[in-house]
Protein backbone atom coordinates (compact mmCIF):
# COMPACT_ATOMS: atom_id res chain seq x y z
CA UNK A 1 0.00 0.00 0.00
CA UNK A 2 2.67 2.50 -0.92
CA UNK A 3 1.32 5.88 -1.84
CA UNK A 4 2.59 7.77 -4.81
CA UNK A 5 4.22 10.95 -3.48
CA UNK A 6 2.99 14.17 -4.99
CA UNK A 7 5.01 15.65 -7.78
CA UNK A 8 6.07 19.25 -7.27
CA UNK A 9 3.35 20.42 -9.63
CA UNK A 10 0.61 18.43 -7.94
CA UNK A 11 1.77 19.65 -4.56
CA UNK A 12 1.69 23.28 -5.69
CA UNK A 13 -1.81 22.73 -7.03
CA UNK A 14 -2.92 21.21 -3.75
CA UNK A 15 -1.42 24.06 -1.73
CA UNK A 16 -3.06 26.70 -3.88
CA UNK A 17 -6.38 24.92 -3.54
CA UNK A 18 -6.25 24.66 0.24
CA UNK A 19 -4.56 27.93 1.24
CA UNK A 20 -7.09 30.52 0.10
CA UNK A 21 -9.97 28.76 1.82
CA UNK A 22 -8.13 28.67 5.15
CA UNK A 23 -7.21 32.33 4.72
CA UNK A 24 -10.87 33.03 4.04
CA UNK A 25 -11.86 31.11 7.15
CA UNK A 26 -9.52 33.32 9.19
CA UNK A 27 -11.20 36.36 7.60
CA UNK A 28 -14.64 35.16 8.63
CA UNK A 29 -13.54 34.29 12.17
CA UNK A 30 -11.97 37.72 12.67
CA UNK A 31 -14.98 39.57 11.21
CA UNK A 32 -17.32 37.45 13.32
CA UNK A 33 -15.70 37.95 16.70
CA UNK A 34 -14.79 41.63 16.31
CA UNK A 35 -18.16 42.54 14.79
CA UNK A 36 -19.92 40.48 17.44
CA UNK A 37 -17.89 42.10 20.21
CA UNK A 38 -18.78 45.61 18.98
CA UNK A 39 -22.47 44.65 18.94
CA UNK A 40 -22.20 43.15 22.44
CA UNK A 41 -20.60 46.43 23.54
CA UNK A 42 -23.62 48.20 22.02
CA UNK A 43 -25.88 45.92 24.07
CA UNK A 44 -23.89 46.86 27.17
CA UNK A 45 -24.22 50.61 26.44
CA UNK A 46 -27.95 50.06 25.91
CA UNK A 47 -28.17 48.38 29.33
CA UNK A 48 -26.31 51.35 30.81
CA UNK A 49 -28.77 53.71 29.10
CA UNK A 50 -31.59 51.80 30.76
CA UNK A 51 -30.14 52.52 34.20
CA UNK A 52 -30.02 56.19 33.14
CA UNK A 53 -33.80 55.96 32.60
CA UNK A 54 -33.62 56.49 28.85
CA UNK A 55 -36.80 55.32 27.12
CA UNK A 56 -37.52 53.05 24.18
CA UNK A 57 -37.04 55.89 21.69
CA UNK A 58 -34.02 57.61 23.23
CA UNK A 59 -32.13 54.48 24.27
CA UNK A 60 -31.01 53.47 20.73
CA UNK A 61 -30.17 57.12 19.96
CA UNK A 62 -27.93 57.26 23.03
CA UNK A 63 -26.35 53.87 22.29
CA UNK A 64 -25.58 54.83 18.70
CA UNK A 65 -24.13 58.19 19.73
CA UNK A 66 -21.82 56.65 22.33
CA UNK A 67 -20.61 54.02 19.83
CA UNK A 68 -19.97 56.79 17.30
CA UNK A 69 -17.99 58.76 19.90
CA UNK A 70 -15.90 55.66 20.57
CA UNK A 71 -15.45 55.11 16.82
CA UNK A 72 -14.31 58.65 16.03
CA UNK A 73 -11.98 58.79 19.06
CA UNK A 74 -10.31 55.48 18.19
CA UNK A 75 -9.96 56.79 14.63
CA UNK A 76 -8.24 59.95 15.87
CA UNK A 77 -5.88 57.87 17.99
CA UNK A 78 -5.05 55.77 14.94
CA UNK A 79 -6.33 52.60 16.61
CA UNK A 80 -9.39 51.98 14.45
CA UNK A 81 -7.37 51.62 11.26
CA UNK A 82 -5.36 48.87 12.93
CA UNK A 83 -8.53 47.12 14.08
CA UNK A 84 -9.81 47.45 10.52
CA UNK A 85 -6.75 45.77 9.04
CA UNK A 86 -7.30 42.84 11.37
CA UNK A 87 -11.08 42.54 11.32
CA UNK A 88 -12.15 43.68 7.82
CA UNK A 89 -15.94 43.85 7.73
CA UNK A 90 -16.04 43.11 11.47
CA UNK A 91 -15.09 46.71 12.13
CA UNK A 92 -16.43 48.30 8.92
CA UNK A 93 -20.07 47.15 9.14
CA UNK A 94 -20.93 48.25 12.73
CA UNK A 95 -21.87 51.90 13.21
CA UNK A 96 -18.39 52.50 14.67
CA UNK A 97 -17.11 51.79 11.14
CA UNK A 98 -19.48 54.45 9.81
CA UNK A 99 -18.03 56.84 12.42
CA UNK A 100 -14.56 55.86 11.22
CA UNK A 101 -15.52 56.55 7.60
CA UNK A 102 -16.65 60.05 8.67
CA UNK A 103 -13.67 60.87 10.88
CA UNK A 104 -10.76 59.34 8.95
CA UNK A 105 -10.92 61.40 5.72
CA UNK A 106 -11.64 64.58 7.74
CA UNK A 107 -8.38 64.10 9.64
CA UNK A 108 -6.44 63.06 6.57
CA UNK A 109 -7.36 66.16 4.58
CA UNK A 110 -6.85 68.69 7.40
CA UNK A 111 -4.22 70.60 5.46
CA UNK A 112 -6.72 71.34 2.70
CA UNK A 113 -8.38 73.65 5.21
CA UNK A 114 -11.43 73.79 7.44
CA UNK A 115 -13.97 74.09 4.63
CA UNK A 116 -12.96 72.03 1.59
CA UNK A 117 -10.67 69.87 3.74
CA UNK A 118 -12.30 68.83 6.98
CA UNK A 119 -15.84 70.08 6.30
CA UNK A 120 -16.28 68.47 2.90
CA UNK A 121 -14.31 65.29 3.55
CA UNK A 122 -16.48 64.38 6.53
CA UNK A 123 -18.98 63.26 3.89
CA UNK A 124 -16.64 61.35 1.57
CA UNK A 125 -18.28 58.07 2.61
CA UNK A 126 -21.12 59.35 4.77
CA UNK A 127 -22.45 61.26 1.73
CA UNK A 128 -23.32 58.21 -0.38
CA UNK A 129 -24.56 56.30 2.67
CA UNK A 130 -26.88 59.15 3.70
CA UNK A 131 -27.98 59.93 0.13
CA UNK A 132 -29.06 56.40 -0.74
CA UNK A 133 -30.23 55.54 2.76
CA UNK A 134 -32.46 58.60 3.07
CA UNK A 135 -33.72 58.35 -0.51
CA UNK A 136 -34.72 54.71 -0.08
CA UNK A 137 -36.45 55.48 3.24
CA UNK A 138 -38.49 58.21 1.50
CA UNK A 139 -39.40 55.70 -1.21
CA UNK A 140 -40.54 53.23 1.46
CA UNK A 141 -42.53 55.96 3.22
CA UNK A 142 -44.26 57.03 -0.01
CA UNK A 143 -45.12 53.44 -0.98
CA UNK A 144 -46.43 52.82 2.53
CA UNK A 145 -48.51 56.00 2.29
CA UNK A 146 -49.97 54.93 -1.06
CA UNK A 147 -50.74 51.36 0.05
CA UNK A 148 -52.21 52.57 3.31
CA UNK A 149 -54.53 54.85 1.37
CA UNK A 150 -55.73 51.92 -0.73
CA UNK A 151 -56.00 49.33 1.99
CA UNK A 152 -57.64 51.39 4.71
Amino acid sequence: MSRQPYTAGQYQHLVSRVTPSSRMLVGYVRAFWVGGAICALGQLISAWAETLKLGEVTNPMFTTSVLILIGTTLTGLGVYDRIGKYAGAGSAIPVTGFANSVAAPAIEFQREGAITGVGARLFTLAGPVLAYGIASSVLVGVIYWALRGWLL
Binding site: F32, T64, A92, V95, V118, L125, P128, Y144
Partner: protein, 122 residues
Protein backbone atom coordinates in the same frame (compact mmCIF):
# COMPACT_ATOMS: atom_id res chain seq x y z
CA UNK B 1 -27.73 32.98 32.26
CA UNK B 2 -30.66 35.30 31.73
CA UNK B 3 -28.49 38.35 32.14
CA UNK B 4 -25.93 37.02 29.66
CA UNK B 5 -28.38 35.95 26.94
CA UNK B 6 -28.97 39.42 25.39
CA UNK B 7 -25.22 39.93 25.04
CA UNK B 8 -24.72 36.48 23.55
CA UNK B 9 -27.53 37.07 21.04
CA UNK B 10 -26.10 40.48 20.11
CA UNK B 11 -22.66 38.94 19.71
CA UNK B 12 -23.74 36.04 17.49
CA UNK B 13 -26.21 37.93 15.28
CA UNK B 14 -23.95 40.98 14.96
CA UNK B 15 -21.02 38.72 14.15
CA UNK B 16 -22.99 36.87 11.47
CA UNK B 17 -24.12 40.12 9.82
CA UNK B 18 -20.47 41.23 9.70
CA UNK B 19 -19.59 37.87 8.09
CA UNK B 20 -22.00 38.71 5.25
CA UNK B 21 -19.98 41.89 4.72
CA UNK B 22 -16.75 39.89 4.93
CA UNK B 23 -18.04 37.52 2.24
CA UNK B 24 -18.69 40.51 -0.02
CA UNK B 25 -15.19 41.89 0.61
CA UNK B 26 -13.47 38.59 -0.12
CA UNK B 27 -15.61 37.28 -2.98
CA UNK B 28 -16.56 40.40 -4.91
CA UNK B 29 -14.74 43.48 -6.13
CA UNK B 30 -17.17 45.83 -4.40
CA UNK B 31 -15.46 48.80 -2.76
CA UNK B 32 -16.01 49.53 0.93
CA UNK B 33 -18.24 52.50 0.07
CA UNK B 34 -20.50 50.31 -2.07
CA UNK B 35 -20.75 47.68 0.65
CA UNK B 36 -21.74 50.28 3.26
CA UNK B 37 -24.38 51.74 0.92
CA UNK B 38 -25.62 48.24 0.10
CA UNK B 39 -26.00 47.43 3.82
CA UNK B 40 -27.95 50.58 4.64
CA UNK B 41 -30.27 50.24 1.63
CA UNK B 42 -30.76 46.52 2.37
CA UNK B 43 -31.68 47.45 5.93
CA UNK B 44 -34.29 49.91 4.64
CA UNK B 45 -35.96 47.41 2.32
CA UNK B 46 -35.74 44.41 4.67
CA UNK B 47 -37.48 46.58 7.28
CA UNK B 48 -40.13 47.67 4.78
CA UNK B 49 -40.85 44.01 4.04
CA UNK B 50 -41.21 43.34 7.75
CA UNK B 51 -38.20 41.01 7.83
CA UNK B 52 -35.78 43.07 9.93
CA UNK B 53 -37.93 44.00 12.93
CA UNK B 54 -38.08 40.40 14.21
CA UNK B 55 -34.27 40.29 14.12
CA UNK B 56 -34.10 43.53 16.14
CA UNK B 57 -36.57 42.11 18.67
CA UNK B 58 -34.47 38.98 18.95
CA UNK B 59 -30.92 40.31 18.94
CA UNK B 60 -31.17 43.95 20.08
CA UNK B 61 -27.87 45.71 19.42
CA UNK B 62 -26.77 42.71 17.32
CA UNK B 63 -29.22 43.93 14.67
CA UNK B 64 -29.23 47.69 15.32
CA UNK B 65 -25.46 48.32 15.56
CA UNK B 66 -24.53 46.99 12.07
CA UNK B 67 -25.30 49.46 9.26
CA UNK B 68 -28.39 47.47 8.29
CA UNK B 69 -29.70 48.78 11.63
CA UNK B 70 -29.21 52.33 10.40
CA UNK B 71 -31.42 51.41 7.45
CA UNK B 72 -33.90 49.88 9.88
CA UNK B 73 -34.13 53.16 11.81
CA UNK B 74 -34.53 55.15 8.57
CA UNK B 75 -37.38 52.93 7.34
CA UNK B 76 -39.15 52.70 10.71
CA UNK B 77 -38.89 56.47 10.98
CA UNK B 78 -40.35 57.03 7.52
CA UNK B 79 -43.30 54.72 8.29
CA UNK B 80 -43.90 56.41 11.66
CA UNK B 81 -43.68 59.78 9.92
CA UNK B 82 -46.39 58.78 7.45
CA UNK B 83 -48.58 57.54 10.29
CA UNK B 84 -48.19 60.84 12.06
CA UNK B 85 -48.06 63.45 9.29
CA UNK B 86 -49.29 61.74 6.12
CA UNK B 87 -47.28 61.92 2.89
CA UNK B 88 -44.88 64.64 4.05
CA UNK B 89 -43.99 62.36 6.95
CA UNK B 90 -42.08 60.16 4.50
CA UNK B 91 -39.66 63.09 4.20
CA UNK B 92 -39.58 63.76 7.94
CA UNK B 93 -39.46 60.44 9.75
CA UNK B 94 -36.26 58.80 8.53
CA UNK B 95 -33.88 61.59 9.42
CA UNK B 96 -35.80 62.40 12.62
CA UNK B 97 -35.23 58.92 13.97
CA UNK B 98 -31.55 58.85 12.92
CA UNK B 99 -30.82 62.49 13.80
CA UNK B 100 -28.81 61.63 16.92
CA UNK B 101 -26.52 59.25 15.04
CA UNK B 102 -25.99 61.53 12.05
CA UNK B 103 -25.35 64.56 14.26
CA UNK B 104 -23.02 62.59 16.54
CA UNK B 105 -20.99 61.42 13.54
CA UNK B 106 -20.69 64.95 12.13
CA UNK B 107 -19.96 66.71 15.44
CA UNK B 108 -17.59 64.10 16.88
CA UNK B 109 -15.93 63.77 13.47
CA UNK B 110 -15.40 67.51 13.40
CA UNK B 111 -14.05 67.70 16.97
CA UNK B 112 -11.87 64.72 16.18
CA UNK B 113 -10.32 66.51 13.21
CA UNK B 114 -9.55 69.50 15.44
CA UNK B 115 -7.94 67.40 18.18
CA UNK B 116 -5.89 64.88 16.24
CA UNK B 117 -3.22 65.10 13.60
CA UNK B 118 -3.05 62.70 10.64
CA UNK B 119 -1.23 59.45 11.35
CA UNK B 120 1.61 58.30 9.17
CA UNK B 121 0.49 55.60 6.77
CA UNK B 122 2.67 52.57 7.07
Amino acid sequence: METIMPFLKAFVVGGLICCVGQALIMNTKLTNARILVLFVVSGVFLTALGLYKPLVDFAGAGATVPLTGFGYSLAMGAIEGVNRYGLIGAFVGGVTRTAAGITAAVVFGLINALLFKPHMKT
